[in-house]
Protein backbone atom coordinates (compact mmCIF):
# COMPACT_ATOMS: atom_id res chain seq x y z
CA UNK A 1 0.00 0.00 0.00
CA UNK A 2 1.57 3.24 -1.20
CA UNK A 3 4.70 4.69 0.33
CA UNK A 4 3.55 3.81 3.82
CA UNK A 5 5.02 0.35 3.80
CA UNK A 6 8.11 0.93 1.75
CA UNK A 7 11.49 0.75 3.29
CA UNK A 8 11.90 3.42 5.86
CA UNK A 9 15.43 4.38 4.90
CA UNK A 10 18.13 5.63 7.14
CA UNK A 11 15.83 7.13 9.76
CA UNK A 12 14.47 3.87 11.18
CA UNK A 13 14.15 5.10 14.70
CA UNK A 14 11.16 5.20 17.01
CA UNK A 15 11.05 8.92 16.50
CA UNK A 16 10.47 8.40 12.81
CA UNK A 17 7.67 5.90 13.46
CA UNK A 18 6.07 8.19 16.00
CA UNK A 19 6.01 11.09 13.57
CA UNK A 20 4.99 8.93 10.66
CA UNK A 21 1.91 7.71 12.57
CA UNK A 22 0.83 11.36 12.77
CA UNK A 23 0.70 11.84 9.01
CA UNK A 24 -3.03 11.12 8.67
CA UNK A 25 -3.99 13.44 11.50
CA UNK A 26 -1.64 16.08 10.11
CA UNK A 27 -3.19 15.87 6.63
CA UNK A 28 -6.58 16.46 8.25
CA UNK A 29 -5.26 19.42 10.30
CA UNK A 30 -6.04 17.40 13.41
CA UNK A 31 -2.75 17.71 15.35
CA UNK A 32 -1.65 20.33 17.81
CA UNK A 33 0.53 23.13 16.49
CA UNK A 34 3.55 21.63 18.25
CA UNK A 35 3.01 18.22 16.69
CA UNK A 36 2.52 19.74 13.25
CA UNK A 37 5.71 21.75 13.59
CA UNK A 38 7.73 18.71 14.64
CA UNK A 39 6.35 16.65 11.79
CA UNK A 40 6.94 19.37 9.21
CA UNK A 41 10.54 19.70 10.36
CA UNK A 42 10.92 15.94 9.96
CA UNK A 43 9.45 16.09 6.44
CA UNK A 44 12.31 18.31 5.33
CA UNK A 45 14.79 15.50 5.87
CA UNK A 46 12.67 12.40 5.16
CA UNK A 47 11.65 11.81 1.52
CA UNK A 48 9.49 8.75 2.34
CA UNK A 49 7.35 10.66 4.83
CA UNK A 50 7.30 13.66 2.53
CA UNK A 51 5.88 11.58 -0.29
CA UNK A 52 3.25 10.02 1.93
CA UNK A 53 2.39 13.46 3.34
CA UNK A 54 1.82 14.74 -0.15
CA UNK A 55 -0.45 11.82 -1.05
CA UNK A 56 -2.50 12.00 2.14
CA UNK A 57 -2.87 15.78 1.94
CA UNK A 58 -4.10 15.39 -1.58
CA UNK A 59 -6.56 12.66 -0.60
CA UNK A 60 -7.87 14.83 2.26
CA UNK A 61 -8.47 17.59 -0.27
CA UNK A 62 -10.86 15.33 -2.15
CA UNK A 63 -13.07 14.95 0.90
CA UNK A 64 -14.41 18.42 0.24
CA UNK A 65 -16.50 18.04 -2.86
CA UNK A 66 -17.51 21.41 -4.25
CA UNK A 67 -20.65 22.71 -2.67
CA UNK A 68 -23.65 22.61 -4.97
CA UNK A 69 -24.52 26.14 -3.86
CA UNK A 70 -22.14 28.69 -5.32
CA UNK A 71 -21.10 31.67 -3.26
CA UNK A 72 -23.01 34.88 -3.86
CA UNK A 73 -21.91 36.46 -7.16
CA UNK A 74 -21.38 39.77 -5.33
CA UNK A 75 -18.68 38.08 -3.24
CA UNK A 76 -16.45 37.85 -6.30
CA UNK A 77 -15.90 41.61 -6.68
CA UNK A 78 -15.58 42.01 -2.92
CA UNK A 79 -12.88 39.35 -2.62
CA UNK A 80 -10.99 40.58 -5.69
CA UNK A 81 -11.06 44.19 -4.49
CA UNK A 82 -9.84 43.06 -1.08
CA UNK A 83 -6.91 41.31 -2.76
CA UNK A 84 -6.07 44.24 -5.04
CA UNK A 85 -6.04 46.59 -2.04
CA UNK A 86 -3.35 44.48 -0.44
CA UNK A 87 -1.25 44.07 -3.55
CA UNK A 88 -1.50 46.41 -6.50
CA UNK A 89 -1.88 44.45 -9.76
CA UNK A 90 0.70 45.09 -12.47
CA UNK A 91 -1.90 44.31 -15.17
CA UNK A 92 -5.47 45.33 -14.43
CA UNK A 93 -8.46 43.91 -16.24
CA UNK A 94 -9.63 46.86 -18.39
CA UNK A 95 -12.91 48.38 -17.16
CA UNK A 96 -14.57 47.65 -20.51
CA UNK A 97 -13.94 43.91 -20.05
CA UNK A 98 -15.44 43.71 -16.55
CA UNK A 99 -19.04 43.00 -17.57
CA UNK A 100 -17.72 40.22 -19.82
CA UNK A 101 -15.65 38.72 -17.00
CA UNK A 102 -18.59 38.86 -14.62
CA UNK A 103 -21.14 37.42 -17.06
CA UNK A 104 -18.92 34.60 -18.30
CA UNK A 105 -18.13 33.69 -14.68
CA UNK A 106 -21.85 33.61 -13.86
CA UNK A 107 -22.68 31.45 -16.86
CA UNK A 108 -19.81 29.13 -16.01
CA UNK A 109 -21.13 28.75 -12.46
CA UNK A 110 -24.53 27.83 -13.90
CA UNK A 111 -22.94 25.29 -16.24
CA UNK A 112 -21.04 23.73 -13.34
CA UNK A 113 -24.37 22.86 -11.75
CA UNK A 114 -25.91 21.26 -14.85
CA UNK A 115 -26.56 17.55 -14.56
CA UNK A 116 -26.39 15.09 -17.42
CA UNK A 117 -30.08 15.54 -18.26
CA UNK A 118 -29.86 19.32 -18.08
CA UNK A 119 -27.35 19.23 -20.92
CA UNK A 120 -30.05 17.57 -23.06
CA UNK A 121 -32.65 20.26 -22.37
CA UNK A 122 -33.21 22.49 -25.41
CA UNK A 123 -33.10 26.21 -24.66
CA UNK A 124 -35.13 28.68 -26.70
CA UNK A 125 -33.02 31.39 -28.33
CA UNK A 126 -34.97 34.36 -29.58
CA UNK A 127 -34.16 37.28 -31.80
CA UNK A 128 -36.38 39.88 -33.43
CA UNK A 129 -37.16 37.72 -36.46
CA UNK A 130 -37.40 34.23 -35.03
CA UNK A 131 -36.59 31.60 -32.45
CA UNK A 132 -34.33 28.60 -32.36
CA UNK A 133 -34.06 25.55 -30.09
CA UNK A 134 -30.58 24.58 -28.99
CA UNK A 135 -29.09 22.41 -26.32
CA UNK A 136 -26.76 24.16 -23.86
CA UNK A 137 -23.59 22.87 -25.55
CA UNK A 138 -24.80 24.31 -28.86
CA UNK A 139 -25.57 27.60 -27.16
CA UNK A 140 -21.95 27.61 -26.00
CA UNK A 141 -20.77 26.95 -29.56
CA UNK A 142 -22.86 29.90 -30.67
CA UNK A 143 -21.24 32.12 -28.04
CA UNK A 144 -17.75 30.81 -28.77
CA UNK A 145 -18.13 31.27 -32.53
CA UNK A 146 -18.90 34.97 -32.10
CA UNK A 147 -16.38 35.44 -29.27
CA UNK A 148 -13.95 34.09 -31.85
CA UNK A 149 -14.06 37.32 -33.87
CA UNK A 150 -12.83 39.08 -30.76
CA UNK A 151 -10.15 36.44 -30.18
CA UNK A 152 -9.03 36.78 -33.79
CA UNK A 153 -8.70 40.55 -33.42
CA UNK A 154 -6.49 40.01 -30.38
CA UNK A 155 -4.21 37.68 -32.32
CA UNK A 156 -5.53 34.53 -30.62
CA UNK A 157 -6.52 31.34 -32.43
CA UNK A 158 -10.00 31.37 -33.99
CA UNK A 159 -12.06 28.30 -32.96
CA UNK A 160 -13.86 28.41 -36.30
CA UNK A 161 -13.44 30.33 -39.55
CA UNK A 162 -15.12 32.67 -41.96
CA UNK A 163 -16.59 36.15 -41.76
CA UNK A 164 -20.31 35.46 -41.62
CA UNK A 165 -21.48 34.94 -38.04
CA UNK A 166 -24.13 32.35 -38.91
CA UNK A 167 -21.68 30.30 -40.94
CA UNK A 168 -19.07 30.48 -38.20
CA UNK A 169 -21.66 29.33 -35.71
CA UNK A 170 -22.88 26.42 -37.86
CA UNK A 171 -19.32 25.30 -38.55
CA UNK A 172 -18.34 25.26 -34.88
CA UNK A 173 -21.55 23.46 -33.87
CA UNK A 174 -20.89 20.78 -36.47
CA UNK A 175 -17.27 20.39 -35.40
CA UNK A 176 -18.24 20.01 -31.73
CA UNK A 177 -21.38 17.93 -32.22
CA UNK A 178 -19.78 14.65 -31.16
CA UNK A 179 -17.95 16.03 -28.15
CA UNK A 180 -18.95 15.86 -24.50
CA UNK A 181 -20.71 18.96 -23.17
CA UNK A 182 -17.93 19.37 -20.62
CA UNK A 183 -15.38 19.56 -23.44
CA UNK A 184 -17.46 22.23 -25.20
CA UNK A 185 -17.76 24.11 -21.95
CA UNK A 186 -13.98 23.95 -21.53
CA UNK A 187 -13.45 25.27 -25.06
CA UNK A 188 -15.87 28.15 -24.55
CA UNK A 189 -14.42 29.03 -21.17
CA UNK A 190 -10.78 28.83 -22.21
CA UNK A 191 -11.45 31.33 -24.98
CA UNK A 192 -13.31 33.76 -22.70
CA UNK A 193 -10.36 33.67 -20.33
CA UNK A 194 -7.78 34.04 -23.06
CA UNK A 195 -9.38 37.17 -24.52
CA UNK A 196 -9.54 38.82 -21.11
CA UNK A 197 -5.95 37.89 -20.31
CA UNK A 198 -4.74 39.22 -23.65
CA UNK A 199 -6.70 42.46 -23.42
CA UNK A 200 -5.35 43.05 -19.91
CA UNK A 201 -1.75 42.70 -21.09
CA UNK A 202 -2.19 44.89 -24.17
CA UNK A 203 -1.54 48.64 -24.38
CA UNK A 204 -4.61 50.82 -23.61
CA UNK A 205 -5.14 52.02 -27.20
CA UNK A 206 -6.18 48.48 -28.05
CA UNK A 207 -9.68 49.44 -26.87
CA UNK A 208 -10.12 51.38 -30.12
CA UNK A 209 -9.13 48.59 -32.46
CA UNK A 210 -12.01 47.53 -34.70
CA UNK A 211 -13.48 44.06 -34.40
CA UNK A 212 -14.91 42.72 -37.65
CA UNK A 213 -18.30 41.03 -37.20
CA UNK A 214 -18.72 40.50 -40.93
CA UNK A 215 -21.79 42.68 -41.44
CA UNK A 216 -20.49 45.47 -39.19
CA UNK A 217 -17.57 46.51 -37.01
CA UNK A 218 -17.29 47.53 -33.38
CA UNK A 219 -14.38 48.97 -31.40
CA UNK A 220 -12.87 46.29 -29.17
CA UNK A 221 -14.20 47.88 -25.96
CA UNK A 222 -17.74 47.80 -27.36
CA UNK A 223 -17.24 44.28 -28.67
CA UNK A 224 -16.49 43.15 -25.10
CA UNK A 225 -19.77 44.72 -23.99
CA UNK A 226 -21.62 43.07 -26.88
CA UNK A 227 -20.20 39.69 -25.85
CA UNK A 228 -21.14 40.27 -22.19
CA UNK A 229 -24.66 41.18 -23.26
CA UNK A 230 -25.12 38.07 -25.37
CA UNK A 231 -23.55 35.86 -22.69
CA UNK A 232 -26.05 37.13 -20.10
CA UNK A 233 -29.06 36.72 -22.40
CA UNK A 234 -28.16 33.19 -23.47
CA UNK A 235 -27.29 32.23 -19.90
CA UNK A 236 -30.87 33.23 -19.10
CA UNK A 237 -32.10 31.06 -21.96
CA UNK A 238 -30.21 28.05 -20.57
CA UNK A 239 -31.33 28.77 -17.00
CA UNK A 240 -34.93 29.00 -18.17
CA UNK A 241 -34.66 25.69 -20.02
CA UNK A 242 -33.35 23.83 -16.97
CA UNK A 243 -35.52 25.73 -14.48
CA UNK A 244 -32.74 27.44 -12.53
CA UNK A 245 -33.05 30.98 -11.20
CA UNK A 246 -30.80 33.53 -12.93
CA UNK A 247 -30.42 37.16 -12.00
CA UNK A 248 -29.64 40.18 -14.16
CA UNK A 249 -26.10 41.65 -14.12
CA UNK A 250 -24.98 44.27 -11.61
CA UNK A 251 -26.32 47.80 -12.03
CA UNK A 252 -22.99 49.24 -13.21
CA UNK A 253 -22.74 46.54 -15.87
CA UNK A 254 -26.34 46.96 -17.02
CA UNK A 255 -25.53 50.65 -17.42
CA UNK A 256 -22.57 49.83 -19.68
CA UNK A 257 -24.73 47.50 -21.77
CA UNK A 258 -27.44 50.14 -22.17
CA UNK A 259 -24.74 52.65 -23.15
CA UNK A 260 -23.68 50.28 -25.92
CA UNK A 261 -27.27 49.91 -27.13
CA UNK A 262 -27.70 53.70 -27.10
CA UNK A 263 -24.55 54.11 -29.23
CA UNK A 264 -25.62 51.52 -31.81
CA UNK A 265 -29.31 52.35 -32.06
CA UNK A 266 -28.88 55.30 -34.48
CA UNK A 267 -27.07 52.90 -36.85
CA UNK A 268 -30.08 50.59 -37.09
CA UNK A 269 -32.84 53.18 -36.70
CA UNK A 270 -35.05 52.61 -39.78
CA UNK A 271 -36.90 55.94 -39.77
CA UNK A 272 -33.85 58.16 -39.48
CA UNK A 273 -34.00 61.40 -41.45
CA UNK A 274 -30.51 62.67 -42.16
CA UNK A 275 -30.20 66.29 -41.16
CA UNK A 276 -33.37 66.35 -39.06
CA UNK A 277 -31.25 66.29 -35.89
CA UNK A 278 -33.87 64.69 -33.68
CA UNK A 279 -32.72 63.42 -30.29
CA UNK A 280 -34.42 60.91 -28.02
CA UNK A 281 -33.65 61.09 -24.33
CA UNK A 282 -33.58 57.66 -22.73
CA UNK A 283 -34.18 57.68 -18.98
CA UNK A 284 -33.46 54.34 -17.40
CA UNK A 285 -34.86 53.51 -14.00
CA UNK A 286 -34.11 50.68 -11.62
CA UNK A 287 -31.01 48.59 -12.19
CA UNK A 288 -28.60 50.40 -14.52
CA UNK A 289 -30.25 53.73 -13.84
CA UNK A 290 -28.99 56.63 -15.96
CA UNK A 291 -29.74 58.98 -18.87
CA UNK A 292 -28.65 58.90 -22.50
CA UNK A 293 -29.22 61.21 -25.45
CA UNK A 294 -29.68 59.24 -28.67
CA UNK A 295 -29.11 61.15 -31.92
CA UNK A 296 -31.47 58.99 -34.01
CA UNK A 297 -30.84 60.88 -37.27
CA UNK A 298 -27.08 61.13 -37.00
CA UNK A 299 -25.10 58.04 -35.99
CA UNK A 300 -21.99 59.18 -34.18
CA UNK A 301 -21.00 60.86 -30.94
CA UNK A 302 -23.86 61.85 -28.59
CA UNK A 303 -25.09 65.48 -28.71
CA UNK A 304 -24.11 67.95 -25.94
CA UNK A 305 -25.78 67.16 -22.61
CA UNK A 306 -27.90 70.35 -22.66
CA UNK A 307 -29.55 69.42 -25.98
CA UNK A 308 -33.32 69.67 -25.81
CA UNK A 309 -34.68 66.21 -26.64
CA UNK A 310 -37.41 65.74 -29.27
CA UNK A 311 -38.87 62.90 -27.22
CA UNK A 312 -38.24 61.28 -23.86
CA UNK A 313 -38.62 57.59 -23.02
CA UNK A 314 -38.51 56.39 -19.40
CA UNK A 315 -38.09 52.64 -18.97
CA UNK A 316 -36.82 49.98 -16.59
CA UNK A 317 -33.16 49.05 -17.24
CA UNK A 318 -33.50 45.26 -17.29
CA UNK A 319 -36.69 45.50 -19.38
CA UNK A 320 -34.93 47.73 -21.88
CA UNK A 321 -32.11 45.20 -22.22
CA UNK A 322 -34.64 42.44 -22.82
CA UNK A 323 -36.30 44.62 -25.42
CA UNK A 324 -32.97 45.09 -27.20
CA UNK A 325 -32.44 41.33 -27.05
CA UNK A 326 -35.69 40.73 -28.92
CA UNK A 327 -37.44 39.28 -25.88
CA UNK A 328 -40.15 41.89 -25.36
CA UNK A 329 -42.91 43.28 -27.53
CA UNK A 330 -42.05 46.95 -28.17
CA UNK A 331 -45.76 47.79 -28.43
CA UNK A 332 -46.56 46.36 -25.02
CA UNK A 333 -43.51 47.18 -22.95
CA UNK A 334 -44.29 49.64 -20.15
CA UNK A 335 -42.58 52.96 -20.83
CA UNK A 336 -43.25 56.57 -19.93
CA UNK A 337 -43.24 58.80 -23.02
CA UNK A 338 -43.23 62.59 -23.38
CA UNK A 339 -42.65 64.87 -26.38
CA UNK A 340 -42.84 63.39 -29.91
CA UNK A 341 -44.78 60.19 -29.15
CA UNK A 342 -44.35 58.75 -32.64
CA UNK A 343 -40.58 59.14 -32.50
CA UNK A 344 -40.43 57.60 -29.04
CA UNK A 345 -42.50 54.63 -30.23
CA UNK A 346 -40.25 54.27 -33.28
CA UNK A 347 -37.20 54.11 -31.00
CA UNK A 348 -38.76 51.37 -28.88
CA UNK A 349 -39.74 49.50 -32.05
CA UNK A 350 -36.16 49.78 -33.35
CA UNK A 351 -34.51 48.43 -30.17
CA UNK A 352 -35.16 44.72 -30.95
CA UNK A 353 -33.30 45.18 -34.26
CA UNK A 354 -30.14 45.05 -32.15
CA UNK A 355 -30.78 41.35 -31.58
CA UNK A 356 -29.14 38.78 -33.82
CA UNK A 357 -29.88 35.13 -34.40
Amino acid sequence: MSAADVEVGRLGSELHEGLRSLLGAWALDACTVQEATRLETHLLSCPACREEARQLRDAAGWLSADEPLDPEPSLRRQVLDGCLDRREPAFRVPAYAEPFVAETARLDALLRDLGELDWMEPATLRWHAGTEQRRPADVLCHLAAVDGVLARTLGLPDPTEGADLAERDARLCAAQAERQPTAVRALWRAQTRAVVETAALAPPDLAERLVDYGAFQLPLADAFLDRAFECWIHAEDIAEAVGYPYHPPRGAHIRSLIGLAARILPHVFPSGQPGAGRVVQLIVEGRGEGEWLIPVDAPGPPPPVDTLPTATVAIDGVEFCHLCAGRRDPHRIPAGITGDKELARALLAAAPLLSRP
Binding site: A59, W62, D70, V101
Partner: protein, 190 residues
Protein backbone atom coordinates in the same frame (compact mmCIF):
# COMPACT_ATOMS: atom_id res chain seq x y z
CA UNK B 1 -16.74 19.12 -13.25
CA UNK B 2 -13.77 20.32 -11.20
CA UNK B 3 -14.06 17.38 -8.80
CA UNK B 4 -13.79 14.66 -11.40
CA UNK B 5 -11.26 16.38 -13.61
CA UNK B 6 -8.38 17.71 -11.55
CA UNK B 7 -6.90 20.80 -13.10
CA UNK B 8 -3.70 19.85 -14.86
CA UNK B 9 -0.32 20.69 -13.45
CA UNK B 10 0.46 22.88 -16.43
CA UNK B 11 -2.45 25.13 -15.57
CA UNK B 12 -1.23 25.28 -11.97
CA UNK B 13 2.20 26.50 -13.02
CA UNK B 14 0.84 28.97 -15.53
CA UNK B 15 -1.57 30.55 -13.12
CA UNK B 16 1.17 30.77 -10.50
CA UNK B 17 3.41 32.59 -12.96
CA UNK B 18 0.63 34.97 -13.93
CA UNK B 19 -0.25 35.67 -10.30
CA UNK B 20 3.40 36.40 -9.61
CA UNK B 21 3.42 38.85 -12.52
CA UNK B 22 0.47 40.63 -10.94
CA UNK B 23 -2.22 39.82 -13.50
CA UNK B 24 -5.66 40.65 -12.14
CA UNK B 25 -7.17 38.36 -14.78
CA UNK B 26 -5.29 35.41 -13.26
CA UNK B 27 -6.71 36.23 -9.85
CA UNK B 28 -10.20 36.27 -11.38
CA UNK B 29 -9.67 32.88 -12.99
CA UNK B 30 -8.34 31.46 -9.76
CA UNK B 31 -11.40 32.74 -7.95
CA UNK B 32 -13.78 31.29 -10.51
CA UNK B 33 -12.02 27.95 -10.34
CA UNK B 34 -11.78 27.58 -6.59
CA UNK B 35 -14.29 29.88 -4.87
CA UNK B 36 -16.91 27.10 -4.64
CA UNK B 37 -14.31 24.82 -3.01
CA UNK B 38 -13.04 27.47 -0.59
CA UNK B 39 -16.40 28.91 0.33
CA UNK B 40 -18.07 25.50 0.46
CA UNK B 41 -15.42 23.93 2.66
CA UNK B 42 -15.23 26.90 5.04
CA UNK B 43 -19.00 26.99 5.28
CA UNK B 44 -19.18 23.28 5.99
CA UNK B 45 -16.61 23.43 8.75
CA UNK B 46 -17.88 26.66 10.31
CA UNK B 47 -21.59 26.49 9.48
CA UNK B 48 -21.63 30.26 9.12
CA UNK B 49 -21.98 32.16 5.83
CA UNK B 50 -20.35 35.37 7.04
CA UNK B 51 -17.39 33.50 8.49
CA UNK B 52 -17.06 31.48 5.28
CA UNK B 53 -16.91 34.70 3.27
CA UNK B 54 -14.17 36.05 5.52
CA UNK B 55 -12.16 32.87 5.11
CA UNK B 56 -12.68 33.11 1.33
CA UNK B 57 -11.33 36.65 1.35
CA UNK B 58 -8.43 35.62 3.52
CA UNK B 59 -7.41 32.60 1.41
CA UNK B 60 -7.49 34.45 -1.92
CA UNK B 61 -5.63 37.40 -0.42
CA UNK B 62 -2.95 35.02 0.79
CA UNK B 63 -2.58 33.38 -2.62
CA UNK B 64 -2.52 36.77 -4.36
CA UNK B 65 0.10 38.14 -1.98
CA UNK B 66 2.24 35.00 -1.84
CA UNK B 67 1.87 33.07 -5.08
CA UNK B 68 5.52 31.98 -4.75
CA UNK B 69 4.70 29.92 -1.66
CA UNK B 70 2.80 27.41 -3.81
CA UNK B 71 5.15 24.51 -4.51
CA UNK B 72 3.92 22.27 -7.36
CA UNK B 73 6.23 19.50 -6.08
CA UNK B 74 4.12 19.31 -2.91
CA UNK B 75 0.80 18.81 -4.70
CA UNK B 76 -1.74 20.51 -6.91
CA UNK B 77 -2.99 24.09 -6.67
CA UNK B 78 -6.37 22.69 -5.68
CA UNK B 79 -4.86 20.73 -2.84
CA UNK B 80 -2.82 23.73 -1.67
CA UNK B 81 -5.82 26.03 -1.66
CA UNK B 82 -7.90 23.35 0.06
CA UNK B 83 -5.22 23.10 2.75
CA UNK B 84 -5.03 26.86 3.26
CA UNK B 85 -8.80 26.96 3.60
CA UNK B 86 -9.17 23.99 5.90
CA UNK B 87 -6.43 25.19 8.20
CA UNK B 88 -7.95 28.63 8.56
CA UNK B 89 -11.41 27.22 9.10
CA UNK B 90 -10.42 24.76 11.83
CA UNK B 91 -8.20 27.33 13.52
CA UNK B 92 -11.14 29.65 13.70
CA UNK B 93 -13.46 26.92 14.88
CA UNK B 94 -11.06 25.93 17.66
CA UNK B 95 -10.50 29.55 18.64
CA UNK B 96 -14.24 30.09 18.92
CA UNK B 97 -14.72 26.82 20.78
CA UNK B 98 -11.92 27.76 23.17
CA UNK B 99 -13.61 31.12 23.73
CA UNK B 100 -16.96 29.47 24.37
CA UNK B 101 -15.39 26.94 26.71
CA UNK B 102 -13.70 29.66 28.70
CA UNK B 103 -16.94 31.58 28.95
CA UNK B 104 -19.25 28.73 29.79
CA UNK B 105 -16.83 26.52 31.66
CA UNK B 106 -17.49 23.55 29.39
CA UNK B 107 -15.39 20.43 29.66
CA UNK B 108 -12.55 20.10 27.23
CA UNK B 109 -13.37 18.01 24.19
CA UNK B 110 -17.15 18.50 24.41
CA UNK B 111 -18.89 17.95 21.05
CA UNK B 112 -18.69 21.11 18.96
CA UNK B 113 -21.74 20.49 16.81
CA UNK B 114 -24.48 17.88 16.33
CA UNK B 115 -23.09 14.53 15.18
CA UNK B 116 -24.85 14.53 11.81
CA UNK B 117 -21.74 15.61 9.97
CA UNK B 118 -21.28 12.39 8.10
CA UNK B 119 -24.81 12.19 6.77
CA UNK B 120 -24.82 15.85 5.74
CA UNK B 121 -21.52 15.51 4.00
CA UNK B 122 -22.61 12.53 2.00
CA UNK B 123 -25.92 14.13 1.11
CA UNK B 124 -24.30 17.32 -0.08
CA UNK B 125 -21.38 15.82 -1.94
CA UNK B 126 -21.78 16.64 -5.60
CA UNK B 127 -19.07 14.34 -6.81
CA UNK B 128 -20.57 10.90 -7.19
CA UNK B 129 -17.20 9.30 -7.51
CA UNK B 130 -15.64 10.77 -4.41
CA UNK B 131 -18.88 10.08 -2.59
CA UNK B 132 -18.73 6.50 -3.75
CA UNK B 133 -15.14 6.00 -2.65
CA UNK B 134 -15.71 7.62 0.71
CA UNK B 135 -18.93 5.70 1.30
CA UNK B 136 -17.22 2.42 0.53
CA UNK B 137 -14.57 3.00 3.18
CA UNK B 138 -15.05 0.87 6.31
CA UNK B 139 -17.47 2.61 8.67
CA UNK B 140 -14.92 3.16 11.45
CA UNK B 141 -12.49 4.87 9.10
CA UNK B 142 -15.16 6.91 7.41
CA UNK B 143 -16.65 8.37 10.56
CA UNK B 144 -13.22 9.25 11.88
CA UNK B 145 -12.22 11.03 8.68
CA UNK B 146 -15.41 12.99 8.28
CA UNK B 147 -15.74 13.95 11.93
CA UNK B 148 -12.18 15.22 11.90
CA UNK B 149 -12.14 16.97 8.55
CA UNK B 150 -15.53 18.66 8.58
CA UNK B 151 -16.01 18.79 12.34
CA UNK B 152 -12.61 20.42 12.77
CA UNK B 153 -11.67 18.08 15.63
CA UNK B 154 -8.12 17.30 16.71
CA UNK B 155 -7.37 13.60 16.77
CA UNK B 156 -7.55 13.64 20.55
CA UNK B 157 -11.01 15.22 20.52
CA UNK B 158 -12.15 12.81 17.86
CA UNK B 159 -10.82 9.85 19.89
CA UNK B 160 -12.75 11.00 22.94
CA UNK B 161 -15.99 11.43 21.02
CA UNK B 162 -15.65 8.09 19.31
CA UNK B 163 -14.59 6.36 22.51
CA UNK B 164 -11.30 5.09 21.11
CA UNK B 165 -7.64 5.57 22.02
CA UNK B 166 -5.81 8.54 20.46
CA UNK B 167 -3.39 6.15 18.77
CA UNK B 168 -6.31 4.30 17.21
CA UNK B 169 -7.74 7.58 15.93
CA UNK B 170 -4.40 8.54 14.38
CA UNK B 171 -4.12 5.13 12.81
CA UNK B 172 -7.64 5.29 11.33
CA UNK B 173 -6.97 8.72 9.85
CA UNK B 174 -3.82 7.59 8.20
CA UNK B 175 -5.27 4.33 6.94
CA UNK B 176 -8.48 5.98 5.72
CA UNK B 177 -6.55 8.57 3.73
CA UNK B 178 -4.22 5.90 2.35
CA UNK B 179 -7.21 3.93 1.08
CA UNK B 180 -8.74 7.05 -0.40
CA UNK B 181 -5.45 8.01 -2.05
CA UNK B 182 -5.10 4.55 -3.56
CA UNK B 183 -8.68 4.49 -4.83
CA UNK B 184 -8.34 7.96 -6.32
CA UNK B 185 -5.09 7.11 -8.05
CA UNK B 186 -6.42 3.90 -9.60
CA UNK B 187 -9.89 5.14 -10.67
CA UNK B 188 -9.84 6.33 -14.25
CA UNK B 189 -10.10 10.09 -14.58
CA UNK B 190 -13.19 11.29 -16.44
Amino acid sequence: MPVSSPTPIRWDRQIQRRLARGEESALGELYDQFAPLVHGLANRVLGDQAAAEEITQDVFAHVWQHPESFDPAQGSMRSWIGTLTHRRAVERLRREAAGADAGLGCADGAPLEPPSVEEEVLAAATAARVQYIVSSLPQALRETLLLTYFGGRTYRQAAKELGIAPDTAKHRMRLGLQLLATALSTEPAL
